[in-house]
């Protein structure tokens, strides 16, 4: 396991595992994942559906109990926390969900939804102060206070997502997991929400884990990016170097497959064969073996570890250097 120790790390995730029992066997949704997030930065977590990115996001907050591993928040392992300690810790760790239609209670008004975290944690004794804070939060996320008594069904997707953001901000957290926060939105609305999240980060010094399948969005918001494939992180590095010169063959294929909205873009799409294999009882060896253009016998036998190949650039592939030489 790489040594990520640094004083600036707000989050350190070590050997995180989350398995699910299924009829067919153990589903390795998250399998020995390691990463860190520095204070004030955005770590993007990308991958295709079923790769375990959402499960990772939830396991980090213990919304799903990890099967094994550690999650250090400000140096303390929250996996060992009691219920009471966890409730206290969650004030600093919030989440924004993908589907703004499903993540808001249809029978609560916006005022009630945003006030709920304040009431549960008994932040204010005075109810008037709660309302005041709710209005302030609505203003912060760009919702008119006129909507205080409106219900979610009266709002469009973009405004609903703003409610989700306001709710996440209510307790002044340090860390927010954003699980596909803009996937359900049209591009023009998506851009508004992305700009809002950026402003909030600047204003409150927030740290984000940004989970998405959309690489151009991830690149836009992230300082560093982790690429997941079938429960494992295959590459972790600063966004610019990753897009210029991806190390892992999966990242290379993934980046090449994005259709670019421009003319005269050379068609260098690397078309991967087949589909992502099943995460139930995965075999030993590299998870990408079956679809990799550069596979060798070793890849089938030994699982590659996430190693630092250049300063702050990690990849889990036995042949990073060889593949690079071949490409140059």
């Amino acid at each position: 396991m790489p040594d990520f120790k640094s004083a600036d790390n707000l989050i350190e995730v070590k050997n995180l595992k989350k398995y699910f029992k299924t009829k067919k066997g153990m589903l390795h949704a998250v399998d020995d994942v390691n990463f860190f997030i520095k204070e004030g930065e955005t770590l993007g977590l990308v991958g295709e559906s079923g790769c375990g990115k959402s499960t990772t996001g939830r396991a980090v907050l213990r919304l799903l109990e990890p099967t094994a591993g550690e999650v250090l928040f400000e140096g303390k392992n929250i996996v060992d926390f009691s219920f009471r300690e966890m409730r206290e810790a969650r004030k600093n760790m919030q989440i924004i969900f993908q589907d703004p239609y499903a993540s808001l209670n249809p029978r609560m008004s916006l005022g009630q939804i945003i006030a709920e975290p304040l009431l549960i944690n008994k932040v204010f004794k005075d109810r008037l102060k709660v309302t005041e804070r709710v209005k302030e939060l609505m203003d912060t996320v760009g919702l008119t206070p006129r909507l205080l008594n409106a219900y979610p069904h009266e709002l469009d997707g973009g405004r609903r997502q703003r409610v989700g953001v306001a709710r996440a901000l209510a307790l002044n957290p340090k860390f927010i997991v954003q699980d596909e926060p803009v996937s359900a939105l049209d591009v023009s609305i998506q851009a508004q929400i992305l700009n809002l999240m950026q402003d909030l980060q600047d204003e409150f010094g927030l740290t984000y884990l940004f989970i998405s399948h959309d690489l151009s969005v991830v690149k836009h918001v992230s300082d560093r990016i982790a690429v997941m494939y079938l429960g494992k992180i295959v590459e972790l590095s600063e966004y610019g170097s990753m897009f210029r010169d991806p190390l892992h063959p999966y990242t290379q294929a993934l980046l090449s497959a994005i259709p670019v909205p421009k003319m005269d873009v050379p068609d260098n799409m690397i078309i991967l064969e087949g589909d992502v294999p099943s995460p139930v009882n995965p075999p030993e060896g590299c998870r990408f073996y079956g679809r990799c253009r550069y596979r060798k016998d070793l890849c089938k036998e030994k699982t590659p570890e996430l190693l630092e190949h250049e300063p702050e650039r990690y990849a889990a592939c036995h042949f990073v250097n060889e593949i690079r030489e071949k490409q140059n």
Partner: protein, 327 residues
């Protein structure tokens, strides 16, 4: 032009709802020639899918109704055809791929049965020949023919979409309408499907209408593009003209909203505000409340289609007025 396979003129489709009349598609005009691919781009509720359903005459009536316009396909107006005649067109001359490969296949029929069904319906072949052709089609889209005996749930999302494509192409249609064919797919699978569609386009010389919200997909596969907003086409051009010189402020806003893959930008430039409710489309240009270049005239007069440059049409007063004063 004589080589236009499809010519849609002033097509208007309305839905009658309790809240009032929704003009889902209004004064839509476009052409698709043989072998050409037209992209129709717009956000949710812009009228893209209704346009496709209109061409196929599958607009649910009630509440929907085609109130005006012509759909000339191979020189014949489809709107004058009877239901009986239309049934011979659908699946044979024009076929459609729907967005969601999970729900557009029948879960209790094998894939080869579903492909053979179209062939038996439209072509004078024996059942045996139809099944043989069905399995050929599976191979064409890159699925081993033995898997024809399997049911949709045994396939992954990308493979299901290939089956849907095989059904759509089984009778070698002249026009293929694909409604968000890759939206539900992951990016590496999307790349596979796009490559397949490009190959089929050249192999079968099929004309295509590709409905999408993804300007990247359009750049990858289309020859022409129509940008839709609240039921209107606001800009219509060859893709090179549109991507190198987008004229309509809405089109410019769309490009400003997409994060770039190959450049760094600090902030996105989104379009302000929201798309209006379909029953409350503003007077004048429907985009005027959100337009950064709005003028007085935009609030009262609906801009008409105007050829700003050769083959590059835009519905915007900016260009129309500009031209008037120059003259």
């Amino acid at each position: 032009m004589s080589n236009d396979l499809l010519k849609v003129k002033d097509l208007s489709i309305q839905y009658r709802t309790d809240e009032g009349i929704v003009r889902a598609v209004d004064m839509m005009t476009f052409e698709v020639s043989k072998g050409e691919t037209l992209g129709i781009v717009g956000e949710t509720g812009a009228g893209k899918t209704t346009t496709a359903l209109g061409i196929m005459q599958l607009v649910p009536d009630p509440p929907g109704e085609i109130v005006k316009g012509e759909i000339i396909f191979n020189g014949e107006n489809l709107l004058e055809k009877t239901n009986e005649q239309m049934r011979k067109v659908r699946g044979k001359k024009i076929s459609m791929i729907f967005q969601d490969p999970m729900t557009s296949l029948n879960p209790v029929m094998t894939t080869e049965e579903q492909i053979a069904e179209v062939i038996i319906l439209h072509e004078k072949v024996s059942e045996k020949e139809a099944y043989e052709k069905a399995r050929d089609m599976l191979e064409t889209v890159g699925i081993p023919r033995e898997r024809g005996k399997e049911f949709p749930h045994q396939f992954s999302g990308g493979m299901r979409q290939r089956v849907v494509i095989a059904i759509a192409l089984a009778c070698n249609p002249e026009l293929l309408i694909a409604d968000e064919p890759t939206t539900a797919l992951d990016v590496t699978i999307q790349a596979q499907v796009l490559k397949l569609m490009k190959r089929l386009k050249t192999e079968f010389d099929t004309s295509m209408i590709l409905i999408t919200h993804d300007l990247g997909v359009v750049a990858n596969i289309c020859d022409k593009v129509a940008i839709m907003y609240t039921g209107y086409v606001v800009e219509y051009a060859k893709i090179r003209d549109l991507y190198t010189d987008p004229l309509h402020p809405y089109t410019q806003g769309l490009f400003g909203s997409i994060p770039s893959i190959d450049e760094d930008e600090e902030r996105l430039n989104p379009i302000k505000g929201l798309m209006p409710e379909p029953t409350e489309v503003p007077e004048g240009c429907p985009f005027n409340p959100r337009c950064p270049k709005v003028m007085d005239i935009c609030r009262s007069v609906l801009p008409i289609r105007y050829e700003a440059k050769e083959g590059h049409f835009v519905n915007c007063h900016l260009y129309y007025d500009h031209n008037e004063t120059e003259k």
